[in-house]
Symmetry: C2
DNA sequence: AAATTTGCTAACCATTAGGTTAAACTAAAT
DNA sequence: ATTTAGTTTAACCTAATGGTTAGCAAATTT
């Protein structure tokens, strides 16, 4: 898993991502990250001072990979149905490639609630006001059933993210192997959007 | 937060639940659990040998609180629409009272994938075969739109669980305070079922 | 070429955390 | 009253872990 990297900073960051995302901040060991990066443990401190700072760098980097995806659904200049289709398809494709990412973010956010406030304060933090306006419009126009934009947003996010966070639990419940579950996720690239649109479209 | 308990075992278990569910296995400290329980640290080992065993007791207890909820949707002798309504309402009511529980389970399951296998092997582990059959029937009868039972199941679980696991993230995105978010969750007791039923019902 | 800064390593340090132990205390049984 | 079994505590032990340091090597600067 250890590929050559341009700079030691990036090399360390990637190794730390790997370990932090899989184990979480508390369970991750600096030595393990050093091994993954193929370097001496002291180097981690040389480049990133402390575990906390290294963790924050990883977290920021991880979060900044997800934020653009969310802005897609929020600020794109497309119809609401198209947004839902695009987001579901794109997001699921993305997460299939980074399976530990959503769980990592949720987990660490829960462990450190103040972190949310810091994130919200930053620019580029997704804001749903545009999406909200769009939903309200379509409801008023009789194109979609009455629904609060907040609830619809929560539903979209839930249907797209949870199947990855709860993958292990769900494979247990529906009693399929990893391969079959992956296949289900592939299907969801279109399935989820269909489901949502069916739920809200006024025929 | 420290109330009098019947037996020291239960007292310890409750304290451990509190800490483990909030911080996770790795970040939880035995001393912290002892403090929460109002006892000496050695007592934890006296009654539960090791951190690992104490953790497993907590996990089992937590999981066994959720399993019955799931059997509701899976094995009840009611119509599929009723199941969805009952489950959503009951589950959300339950989790509002135990907000850390789902996150804890998911998190520790992800950290220790082999745990799933152990759980699945146990009796009382939910099995969706009955639900599956019911869905297929209704699809064949033209009562609901064609959908794989597995996908519907994943959707139901996602819509009910994720809003609690991702609460902090979602409050950030939709920019509401804790109180307003709780209100949204209250609404979801009926909102979620309506959404799902709209999505699948053939009119 | 000498000096100096930067990158890197091995050994070390201090603290923390899980776990143990031996002694003390309590209360029931003899 | 004495024994005995179960319970509780303080003090201790050991391993692991995040972090530091002193020195060396390789560039970079002057």
């Amino acid at each position: 898993m250890t590929e050559e990297q341009k700079t030691p900073e990036i090399n360390i960051l990637n190794a730390a991502k790997e370990i932090f995302e899989r184990k979480g901040m508390a369970a991750a060991r600096m030595q393990e990250i050093a091994d993954e990066a193929g370097i001496n443990k002291a180097m981690l401190h040389y480049y990133y001072r402390s575990k906390q700072l290294l963790f924050e760098a990883v977290f920021k980097s991880a979060f900044s990979m997800l934020a653009p995806q969310l802005n897609e659904i929020i600020n794109a200049d497309t119809s609401i149905f198209e947004k839902i289709r695009n987001f579901s398809s794109n997001y699921i494709s993305f997460v299939i490639k980074h399976p530990y990412l959503p769980n990592f973010i949720i987990q660490e956010l829960n462990r450190n609630p103040d972190f949310v406030k810091k994130l919200v304060a930053e620019k580029n933090f997704p804001n749903i006001s545009k999406f909200k306006q769009q939903v309200n419009e379509k409801v008023a126009d009789g194109i979609i059933k009455p629904i609060k934009a907040e609830q619809l947003f929560i539903n979209i996010i839930s249907l797209n993210i949870f199947p990855f966070i709860g993958a292990l639990l769900l494979t247990g419940f529906i009693n399929v192997n990893e391969e079959a579950y992956k296949q289900l996720m592939e299907e969801r690239k279109t399935e989820v959007a269909d489901f949502i649109i069916n739920a809200i479209k006024l025929k």
